[in-house]
């Protein structure tokens, strides 16, 4: 094994980068190790999505006449098709959870502060890309749930004058309602452009600013064993959901083929979009409802450049702590409101 490793290292030179990025990852002793495991879990979750996504491509047909049926074939006829689809579906929700938690802890710990601003910005775009991947993948089963979720989403830009209608039509690929052209477009985004973008952002987020990270500092706690535990917990969570709550992310309308002439009652998006969806309900002006959310996203991305305080400890900044708690509370309340 050692000889093989040496043989490989002479030809690739990968041993040192692997050692420093994984086994050599160290964090300061005074910080909670669990906070630093989420990046590895996110990485594993992305790999799981890529592998299961490729597997699903063997049987999925991206045409509106066949898309729903091909997903049913994967679920009912292809051996273990249900398993790979459920891993992909549950995995996408876990990925969003992990990335959200990672960003939340980064905010709480002030990890976005100088010289890590760029890491935060890349991470914010990474979160948005993960959400775009979830949305583009949402349409592919061509169910009632997916059809109407994407109808609402692609209608959002029409709130903006001049360019709004053009953006909606460009997303749909047609000047009318969501159709086969939209399905093919979203398929290309989901399996082509967005995964490439995700990998690029991963490199920017984790690779380029690596020299700034704690791992290069001397001392500190090695984090690899804690990361292994966190990854194990991720898989335990995934297979617990698949075993005990297989329908958690596949409600009734996910099993009904898309009907462009019937909007289902009580339509609602996935849990991570329920807060924005509720804001659209609460703010009477469509333009205002969407504009407010775009401003919030811009603030989220640019946060390291807006918060210029040198103090990292949020517990010593009561106003920031209040903003943090208020944001989290508002998000949870809106999500619950959108659920019931």
């Amino acid at each position: 094994m050692s000889a093989l490793r040496k043989w490989l290292d002479i030809r690739t030179g990968l041993a040192e980068p692997v050692r420093t990025s994984a086994a050599g990852h160290r964090v300061p002793r005074d910080l909670v190790l669990a906070f630093y495991t989420l990046r590895m879990v996110a990485f594993v979750a992305i790999v799981v999505q890529i592998i299961t996504g490729i597997v699903l491509l063997f049987y999925y047909v991206p045409q509106h006449q066949y898309a729903f049926k091909s997903v049913q074939v994967i679920m009912d006829q292809v051996p273990y098709g249900w398993l790979f689809r459920l891993i992909h579906v549950v995995g996408s929700n876990l990925l969003v959870t992990v990335v959200l938690l990672h960003m939340t802890t980064a905010f709480f710990l002030g990890s976005y502060k100088k010289p890590h601003e760029f890491t935060w910005v890349a991470g914010a775009f990474l979160l948005l890309t993960v959400m775009a991947l979830c949305l583009s993948g949402y349409l592919l089963p061509w169910s009632q749930l997916s059809y109407w979720a994407i109808t609402v989403l692609t209608d959002v830009p029409t709130a903006f004058p001049v360019v709004g209608k053009f953006i909606t039509q460009a997303l749909r690929g047609v000047s009318g309602p969501v159709s086969d052209a939209t399905l093919r477009r979203f398929f290309a985004l989901h399996v082509g452009l967005l995964p490439l973008l995700l990998i690029l952002l991963l490199v920017l987020h984790d690779g380029v600013p690596a020299h700034l990270r704690y791992r290069r500092r001397r001392g500190g706690e090695p984090v690899i064993s804690t990361e292994a535990v966190a990854v194990a917990l991720y898989f335990i969570a995934m297979f617990s959901i698949i075993a005990f709550f297989p329908g958690l992310f596949l409600p009734h309308d996910a099993h009904v083929p898309a009907d462009p002439l019937k909007t289902p009652l009580h339509i609602r998006p996935e849990w991570y979009f329920r807060a924005p969806y509720e804001i659209l309900k609460l703010i009477p002006s469509k333009f205002l409802g969407i504009a407010v959310q775009l401003v919030l996203v811009a603030v989220f991305i640019c946060w390291p450049y807006l918060d210029r305080s040198r103090e990292r400890n949020i517990l010593k900044r009561p106003l920031m702590l209040a903003v943090f708690l208020a944001t989290i509370t508002a998000w949870i309340v809106l999500t619950i409101r959108g659920t019931y």
Binding site: W148, T151, V152, T154, D155, V156, A159, F166, Q169, A170, R172, G173, V174, S175, G176, P177, S179, A181, P260, L261, K262, T263, P264, L265, H266, I267, L280, K281, I283, P284, S285, K286, F287, G289
Partner: protein
């Protein structure tokens, strides 16, 4: 040496211009390719028999690519797009309440297509129609 450097500088600029021009030449077709939008069918005239539409009733139909609804009010017929002007869900006719209601964000329209409550920014668009004998021609 100085002349050599000048030549190198010139070649750099020339290569940059040529490279950017080549990219620009490709960018335009790429933009047009990606943002090509098929025009939705405006559709031929849709015909509905008068007999199948007693007063107070409504019928869902599709005009071109647009889901629509024809309602027989006491004052006559009216034809709307069913596409909610808020976020594109389809409104449903509630005969008991004499309203059109969107299931997504609870946008409510009266039977003239005007917004009664909720977030829709505009009334429902109407389709032109004419009654010809025992049929209604829409579109």
């Amino acid at each position: 040496m100085s002349a050599g450097m000048e030549r190198r500088g010139f070649l750099k600029i020339l290569t940059s211009i040529l490279g950017l021009s080549a990219l620009g030449t490709l960018a335009y077709p790429l933009f047009r390719y990606i943002f090509f939008v098929k025009t939705a069918s405006t559709g031929a005239t849709v015909t509905v028999p008068v007999a199948g539409l007693p007063e107070g009733s409504a019928k869902d139909l599709v005009v071109g690519d647009t889901p629509a609804i024809i309602i027989h009010k006491p004052t006559g017929y009216i034809v709307f797009s069913r596409v909610c002007t808020h976020l594109g869900c389809l409104v449903n006719y509630h005969k008991d309440r004499q309203l059109l209601i969107c299931p997504c964000h609870n946008g409510i329209y009266d039977l003239d297509g005007n917004v009664v409550s909720g977030p829709p920014p505009r009334p429902l668009p109407q389709f032109p129609f004419k009654v010809v004998g025992d049929k209604i021609e829409i579109g």
